[in-house]
C-alpha cells in the first residue's frame, strides 16, 4: 500500500549540496525499505521534523521507558504532535555501549543493522556525545525486543539519567605511538566495575569516565568527564637525534626554532648548533607539542603511567569546570595498579553520592566544599601538582599549620625511602 508522503519543502533543501545528507538517508528508508512499518515511521518522522523546521520548535517529550531489570539506558521520546504523525509518536533512543576505543568489524555492524531494522526505525549514530551507539527510533515494546536480541550477542545498554554513564577511550595503543597506557583496559575496568550504577540511576547526577592515552586528550576527558585518565610518563622523553637532524634538514633551523623550541610552554627545549635537540626533562610538562611536530624523532619515555583529574563538566549549573589533578602520576602496569584505580573511583563516587546535592556534578560539589575537604574525604594528601599556584587570599584560619607541615615532611621522608 502506497503511503501518503508528507510534503517536506524545507527538508528537501538539505538534500542539496555535496556533504552526505541525513534527509536523503531518512527518505531512502521511507521510499526503498522493504518493511512497510519502517516506510511509515520514517515518513511521519520527516513530517514532524518538517513541522519543527516550519515552526522553529521541537516536539519531543521525555517520559519513563526502560527494559526489564534496568532503570535507564533508554531515552524515551513521545511526540507532542503524535496525532498528526502517529507512526512515529513513540520514537525512543536505545543507548548501547560501544566497544572500548570504538572498534568494529563490518560483520558485527551488519548484525546490529539486521537487528535494528527488525525492531526499530533503521536510523543509527556512531556515536552520541556521551559515547553511546544511538539506535534512534523504536516504540516502547520494540525497545525490549531489540535489547533482548542484541544483549544475547554481547551488547549492553549505556547510562541515562543520574548514573555512571557510558565511558570513552581513544584508539590509543591500538594505533598510536603517543599512547602511554592501555586505554581500553582502563576504560573497561572502570566502567564495568559500575554496571549496577550504569543501569540503575541512583546518584546525585551523571558521572563520566574518559580515558586519553596522552595529553593531546583526544577524548576531551579533562573538560567532559568527572574522572579523566590521561596517559603520561615521568622519565626522560625519547629523542632520536638522527631523526631530529632529518627534520632540521627538511624544514630548516628557523622552522624548528619557531615551531618546536619557542612553542614549548616551559622553555625546556633548545636546538643545539649541531642540529640536535637539547631537552630539560625536569622542566618538561609532557604537553605533547614537540612530539606532535616531530613524531618520528620524539617519543614518550618508558616509565609510563597516568594522571587522574576529577570534576570536569560543562555549563549547568555553576559554570564550566575543567577537571582538577587529584592523582599527579599513577603507574598502570600490574593488576593491583588497575585495582587501586578502580578503588579510587569507588571512593570518589561513594563520597560524592553521600555529599553531593541533587543534580550536582562531582566538580560542582568540590567547588562548594573546597578541594582540601574533598581530598580529606577521599583520603588523598594534598600535592602542589594539584594547583596552578598556592592560595592568594589571606582569609584562612591556619592554627593546624605546624601539624600539616610536619605531615608533609613525614610523607616526603617516606617517599624518599
Amino acid at each position: 500500500m502506497a503511503i501518503q508522503k508528507h510534503h517536506t519543502p524545507m527538508l528537501d533543501q538539505l538534500e542539496e549540496g555535496p556533504w552526505p545528507s541525513f534527509i536523503s538517508g531518512i527518505k531512502r528508508l521511507r521510499d526503498q525499505h522493504p518493511d512497510a512499518r519502517i516506510n511509515e515511521v520514517t515518513n511521519d518522522l520527516l513530517g514532524q521534523l518538517e513541522h519543527s523546521y516550519e515552526t522553529r520548535k521541537g516536539y519531543w517529550k521525555g517520559g519513563t521507558v526502560s527494559v526489564y531489570g534496568y532503570g535507564g539506558g533508554i531515552i524515551p521520546r513521545f511526540s507532542e504532535v503524535g496525532k498528526a504523525f502517529p507512526k512515529s509518536k513513540e520514537f525512543h533512543t536505545i543507548r548501547v555501549q560501544p566497544p572500548a576505543g570504538n572498534h568494529y568489524s563490518t560483520a558485527m555492524l551488519r548484525q546490529l543493522a539486521d537487528s535494528w531494522e527488525k525492531h526499530g526505525s533503521g536510523l543509527v549514530t556512531f556515536h552520541g556525545q556521551t559515547g553511546n551507539i544511538m539506535f534512534i527510533g523504536a516504540d516502547t515494546p520494540s525497545t525490549q525486543r531489540f535489547f533482548d536480541e542484541i544483549n544475547d550477542y554481547g551488547w549492553d545498554l549505556g547510562g541515562a539519567g543520574p548514573c555512571v554513564r557510558t565511558a570513552m577511550s581513544c584508539i590509543g595503543s591500538a594505533r598510536c605511538e603517543m599512547s602511554c597506557t592501555n586505554e581500553l583496559k582502563a576504560h573497561r575496568l572502570l566502567v564495568n566495575n559500575f554496571t549496577d550504577d550504569v543501569h540503575r540511576p541512583a546518584l546525585p547526577y551523571k558521572f563520566k569516565f574518559k580515558v586519553s592515552g596522552c595529553a593531546n586528550d583526544c577524548q576531551n576527558a579533562i573538560e567532559r568527564s568527572d574522572f579523566a585518565v590521561i596517559g603520561t610518563w615521568r622519565d626522560d622523553m625519547k629523542v632520536d637525534q638522527a631523526e631530529v637532524k632529518a627534520y632540521v634538514a627538511q624544514k630548516g633551523r628557523q622552522y624548528i626554532i619557531d615551531n618546536v623550541v619557542t612553542r614549548c610552554p616551559t622553555h625546556a627545549l633548545s636546538l643545539n648548533d649541531d642540529n640536535t635537540l637539547a631537552v630539560n626533562n625536569r622542566d618538561c610538562v609532557r604537553c605533547m607539542h614537540c612530539l606532535n611536530v616531530m613524531p618520528k624523532a620524539l617519543h614518550p619515555g618508558d616509565d609510563k603511567g597516568v594522571t587522574i583529574l576529577i570534576g570536569g563538566k560543562r555549563t549547568l549549573k555553576i559554570g564550566d569546570l575543567m577537571g582538577t589533578v587529584v592523582v599527579p602520576f599513577k603507574k598502570l602496569e600490574t593488576e593491583e595498579d588497575y585495582e587501586s584505580m578502580v578503588e579510587l573511583a569507588e571512593t570518589i563516587i561513594d563520597f560524592w553520592a553521600e555529599n553531593g546535592l541533587e543534580h550536582e556534578r562531582c566538580g560542582e560539589m568540590i567547588e562548594r566544599i573546597g578541594l582540601a575537604n574533598f581530598l580529606e574525604g577521599i583520603g588523598i594528601e594534598p600535592d602542589p601538582n594539584m594547583l596552578s599556584h598556592p592560595r592568594q587570599s589571606s582569609y584562612i584560619r591556619m592554627d593546624g599549620w605546624d601539624e600539616a607541615a610536619e605531615e608533609w615532611f613525614e610523607r616526603q621522608a617516606v617517599a624518599g625511602e
Binding site: M10, L14, G17, W19, P20, I26, R28, L29, S52, Y53, R56, G58, P98, P99, G101, N102, H103, Y104, S105, L109, A113, W116, G122, T125, F126, H127, Q129, I136, N151, W155, I171, S173, A174, R175, C176, E177, H187, R188, V191, T195, A215, N216, D217, Q219, I222, E223, D258, N259, R263, P265, V285, C287, M288, N292, T315, L316, K317, G319, M322, E358
Partner: protein, 356 residues
C-alpha cells in the same frame, strides 16, 4: 513478569574481537606515523608492520542502507575492520598500500567525503536537535549538513594552521562541547509558563533549585500551585525547561544563535581552554542557517590567513589580541562580551598590555 528475560549485564564490550589483526599484533608497539595525503594516515610499528587509515565524513545519522554501504566498502576495499572517531567520522584500516586509492575512490563514489585529518576543519561535533531531543532550540544535523556543504573543501584539505574543531549545540547545556568554533543556542527571553500544567508536570522544589540565579520561586497562580520567574534576574539559560516543560524557553523569534571561539581540549603548548563569546543575536534560520555559516567562514578565513603554523584559534587570538580579532572578523564588541559570572574578574585586563 515471570517470563521476562533477565538482562546480561555485560557492560562495555571487549574491542579486541573487532580490532584489525595488525593492530592487535602491534598493540602498544607503534613507532611513528605519517600523513601521506589528506584523509590518510600511515602508522608504522616497531615490528615493521604498517597500517593505513582512510578517514571519511558521513551524515552521522546513518540509515541502515548507508551503514551497509560503508560495510560493503569495508569488505571490498578494506580488511573488514573499521573505527569511529570521537567526531563520528569512520576510519577504514588496511595493511596493503595498494588498497588505499581504490578505497578512497569507492568512498567518494558512494557520496562519503574523505578527509578530516590533521590541519583540516574536521567533522562538526553535534547533538540531536529537533530530530530527537526534548529541549532543542534548533536542529543539529540540519545545521551541520548546511555548514559542512560550505566547509567541505576545508574538510578535504589540510590548509589550516592547525586542526579546527567545530561544535554545535541546540541549548545552553552545550552537549556539542567546547570547540575552536562553537555555534550554540542562546535564548533571549524568559520562559513562557503554562500555569495550568506546572502543578501536575513539575517537581517544583527541584525546578527552583535548578535555577543558577535564584530567579524562580513557588507561586499560586489562578488558585493553582505554580512557579513564577523574576524576569529582571532571569538570564534566559533554559535550565528550568528540562525538569519543567511547561516553562517553555524555545521561541521561534527570540531563540537565537551565538558563536564562541577558542575552546581547545588539548594540553599541547598550553593548558586546555574554554571557548569565549564572539557573536550573538544570530537568527535561528532553518533550513540552512546562512547567517551563522557566514560568520563561521569569516572567522576561518581570518584564522587561515593570520595564524602561524600550529596555532589553534585560541592561541592565534592570544597572540594578536581580541581587539584585532573583532576587527578582522568584522564583529561588534559589546557590553555583553564582558563576563558577569563567577570568576569574571580573572578575564579583565589588569595590566598595561595593549596592542596598537
Amino acid at each position: 513478569m515471570a517470563d521476562m528475560r533477565e538482562p546480561i549485564e555485560s557492560g562495555c564490550p571487549d574491542p579486541w574481537q573487532y580490532m584489525h589483526p595488525v593492530m592487535r599484533k602491534n598493540f602498544g608497539q607503534w613507532k611513528y606515523h605519517e600523513h601521506p595525503r589528506p584523509g590518510v594516515l600511515r602508522h608504522v610499528a616497531f615490528s615493521g608492520d604498517e597500517i593505513w587509515t582512510v578517514k571519511a565524513g558521513t551524515q552521522r545519522i546513518l540509515d541502515v542502507f548507508s551503514l551497509r554501504k560503508l560495510c560493503d566498502i569495508g569488505d571490498q576495499y578494506a580488511d573488514g575492520h573499521v573505527h569511529f572517531t570521537i567526531r563520528s567520522s569512520i576510519e577504514f584500516l588496511v595493511t596493503d598500500q595498494a588498497k588505499v586509492e581504490p578505497l578512497i575512490q569507492a568512498l567518494e563514489e558512494a557520496g562519503f567525503i574523505v578527509g578530516g585529518t590533521q590541519n583540516s576543519v574536521t567533522m562538526i561535533s553535534h547533538t540531536q536537535g529537533w530530530l530527537h531531543c526534548d529541549i532543542p532550540g534548533t536542529d543539529a544535523s540540519g545545521v551541520v549538513k548546511a555548514m559542512m556543504d560550505e566547509l567541505i573543501d576545508e574538510f578535504r584539505n589540510t590548509n589550516m594552521p592547525n586542526r579546527v574543531h567545530i561544535t554545535t549545540s541546540c541549548c545552553q547545556i552545550n552537549c556539542g562541547g567546547q570547540g575552536d568554533i562553537a555555534i550554540n543556542v542562546q535564548h533571549t527571553k524568559p520562559p513562557k509558563i503554562n500555569h495550568d500544567l506546572v502543578a501536575n508536570v513539575c517537581e517544583r522544589p527541584s525546578v527552583v533549585a535548578r535555577c543558577p540565579v535564584a530567579a524562580i520561586r513557588p507561586a499560586l497562580v489562578n488558585g493553582k500551585p505554580s512557579l513564577e520567574v523574576d524576569e529582571r534576574k532571569c538570564i534566559c539559560c533554559g535550565a528550568c525547561y528540562p525538569p519543567c516543560p511547561p516553562m517553555q524557553i524555545n521561541d521561534a523569534e527570540h531563540t537565537k544563535l551565538a558563536i564562541w571561539v577558542g575552546g581547545n581540549h588539548s594540553n599541547a603548548r598550553g593548558k586546555p581552554t574554554f571557548q569565549k563569546l564572539v557573536a550573538a543575536g544570530i537568527p535561528n534560520n532553518p533550513p540552512r542557517w546562512p547567517e551563522a555559516t557566514g560568520i563561521v567562514k569569516r572567522i576561518l578565513k581570518a584564522y587561515k590567513e593570520g595564524a602561524r603554523d600550529w596555532e589553534r584559534i585560541n592561541e592565534w587570538i592570544e597572540r594578536i589580541g581580541w581587539p584585532r580579532f573583532f576587527e578582522e572578523v568584522e564583529l561588534p564588541f559589546t557590553k555583553y562580551h564582558i563576563d558577569t559570572w563567577r570568576g569574571a574578574r580573572n578575564s579583565f585586563n589588569a595590566s598595561t598590555y595593549i596592542r596598537f
